[in-house]
Structure formats: C-alpha cells, structure tokens
Symmetry: C2
Subunit: 194 residues, 2 copies
DNA sequence: CGTCTATTTGAATGTACTCAAAAGCGGTGG
DNA sequence: CCACCGCTTTTGAGTACATTCAAATAGACG
C-alpha cells in the first residue's frame, strides 16, 4: 500500500515498469514513528533515506544563542525527509528531524541505496530531480525572505502548502518563516483587507 | 591554462586520468565577459553550464515590489555560475546572472553536457557533489538568516568568503545578507568591540 | 581635477520582537 | 458532564534592530 504511494510518486517523474518497481520496492523497509520520536539528531550521520507515506515531521536546528528551534522544513504525506547532504556524504548532520505526529515511513540504508542505483540506473534521474526541486524551493525561500514582508510570506506559505498549514501548529510555521509566533497571530487577525 | 584550473577543481573530488581529462576538456568553450555583460537574464532558459575561471559575477532577482535587486549568490574565480535548476530542467530562470567585472568563463551546452556525462560517467558523481555543496550552503544561509542578527551574519560572511568580500562592493554584499547598504556601513563602523 | 559610483552619517520611522498574561482548545479523569 | 491540565494562540505594552530618505564624504577612473 505505502510502497505503491512511493512508486506512484516516482512514476510522476520517470518511467518504471512493474518489474523494476518490484525490484525497487524490495530495497525499502516500512517503519512507524510515534509522536515526538526522532528520525535524526543533530550531530548524527543520516544513515537512511526516508520517504514519508503518512504523518508529519519537522526538521530544525537549535539556535546556539537563543536556544530556540529554527525550522528548516516540514515533511508530510508523500514527501521526503532526510538530510540529503548528510546522507550523501555520510557526515554528521547539522540539524534534527522529529515526528510531530504518528507517521509511517519507508527507509533505505546508505549501502542499499548505492546497490539500488546500480541495479536501477533510471533512479539516478529521479533522485537528481528530487534534489533539484528541493534546491529550487530553497532558492525561492531565500529570495522571499529577503524580498517580502512577513504578511506576504505567510500568505504565500498557506497558498503554496495548504496541507502543511492545516496539519502543523502555527508556532512552527512561524519559525519556518523566520517570524515570531505572536506576530503570525497578529497577521491572521488583521488579514481582512487582503 | 583555464582548462587546467577546472580539471584541478574536479580532481579535488573525483579521480580523473589524463586521457579522461582531455576528453572532458574538449567539450568546453572559453568565453570572455566584459563588466556588466549578462550570462543569463530572468525568464531565459539557462542553456550553458558555466565555470568561472577568473572574474566575478552576481546572480540576483528583481523584487517586484521595490524594484530592487536581491542577490542570490556571487561566483568568482574557480566557482560555478549557472542556474542549475533552469539548466537541468531547460525551463526559464527566475533570476539573472551578470558580470560585475571582466571575467573569463568556460561553458558547455545542454546537449554536450549530456553527451559528456555518457562518455565520462565519473562526472555524474562530481556534479552531484557540486549540487550537494550548493544545497548545503543554501541550507546554512536560510538557518543563519533566521537565527542570527546582521552583525553576526556579516562577520561570518567575511570570514567564510574573504575573497568575495575583497572583490565585491559592499552594497551587493548587503543585499546578499538581506540588509540595507547603510546598515552594513554602521556595522563596520562600530565593529571595534567584536 | 571633475564626474560617477560607492560609502558614511544623521534623523525619523517602522516592522517585527520580547516578555507577560490571558484566553482558547482538546483530551483525561473524577 | 464538568473540572482541570497542558499546549497553542491571542492580546497588550514597551522596545529593538534595522530601514528609509536625504545629504555629505570618500574613492576610482578617465
């Protein structure tokens, strides 16, 4: 069931026949995370690539000065949730990933991932596309944070990611947008004339 | 000469024998850009991957509200300067890249790039590494913009990229850091007790 | 030198933050 | 079914970090 979700996702970007899909699936392991459980902790090496079949995760790093969590991204149903840099280089991650509700994930270890790519070279393309899309979203985010005010960014966020806005508490979205939770509240209150 | 610089760069990450290096080099074309010349304009498709042998380029996008340029990155000697997303997808870019001084670059077209990868599969690895490093720098930048104040970010910038700080006008660095040019000036003035 | 661009300085202002407290919401147990 | 608890959101008041606009300097280049 969950494997099919992942295959469906992949087939949006590359062609994969049923046999290849079967081979691909055999590399992955399903796992459940309860609320609050960690997928990865700051300083650890990201040893698995993780696909989120259902649930919600947050990736954040701790501000050394204020001690507060700064959100890097969210991952909900049908998204990826790994530190791609740490996974690819097998070096320690600079952030943590934690479940914010019960989640079901599919995982593949680093070695298996390499084997899988050898058996199914077409997947190189898929993962390059995923990487590029993530890159694009990071660029957009940098640009938007520089260029636009908190109100604009908040409204853009809820339009771009309505499913996340519906699931994730506001104070986490505030952190993602680089704004205080209180200010998001004020934005929502005075949103009439938009 | 400039080709050797690129080969040297590549050999920092992957092994390439002299024959492979020759093959690789044959795909690239040298080109000169004079100050102010554009490598890419917002809305155009990025048709070349570009290595900067010497000089300095800025990548920026125009804020629709204020009309101001918002810096996305700089590329100086021995760096890459392309919109990787636009190049890979062959879709229009959302930003522009322009020479801020006379620059010498090496370029490869989209089709040639694909052929080159077929002939030299080892280069897949190199370009994935470059992509990941860029990804890491974007993540760091997002985190730092959220977490730290302008003074900290400025000081981190000049420590991390002293060569850029030496070459690029302050008002462009200000834009890169998401700060006004005037405020950077004030930071520098009051930096005694750092 | 004069011109054009870049940087600095001043004064007033604004956007968003902090701290503290109150209100809302959802679940759990008596 | 209501009371209570923990967590999230809202509200208020005071404040800070950084901005804007305007003008003065300082640098670079022909």
């Amino acid at each position: 069931m969950n494997e099919l979700k992942l295959i469906e996702n992949i087939r949006r970007y590359v062609n994969l026949n049923d046999e290849e899909a079967q081979t691909f699936i055999s590399f992955w392991t399903e796992r459940n995370l309860s609320k609050g459980e960690y997928l990865l902790r700051n300083g650890e090496i990201c040893r698995f690539d993780t696909y989120v079949a259902s649930g919600a995760l947050k990736a954040y790093f701790i501000n050394a000065q204020s001690g507060k969590e700064e959100m890097l991204f969210f991952a909900i149903d049908d998204w990826w949730a790994s530190d791609l840099v740490s996974f690819s280089t097998q070096k320690p991650s600079i952030y943590s990933i934690q479940a914010i509700e019960h989640s079901t994930i599919l995982q593949i270890g680093y070695q298996s991932f390499q084997e899988m790519l050898k058996k199914l070279p077409v997947m190189e393309r898929y993962f390059r596309i995923i990487l590029e899309r993530y890159l694009g979203s990071l660029q957009k985010r940098i640009i938007y944070n520089q260029a636009y005010d908190a109100r604009f960014r908040y409204q853009d966020f809820i339009e771009t990611y309505p499913e996340i806005a519906a699931k994730v508490p506001q104070y986490l979205i505030a952190s993602y947008l680089g704004v205080s939770a209180e200010f998001i509240s004020r934005i929502r209150r005075g949103k009439k004339g938009s």
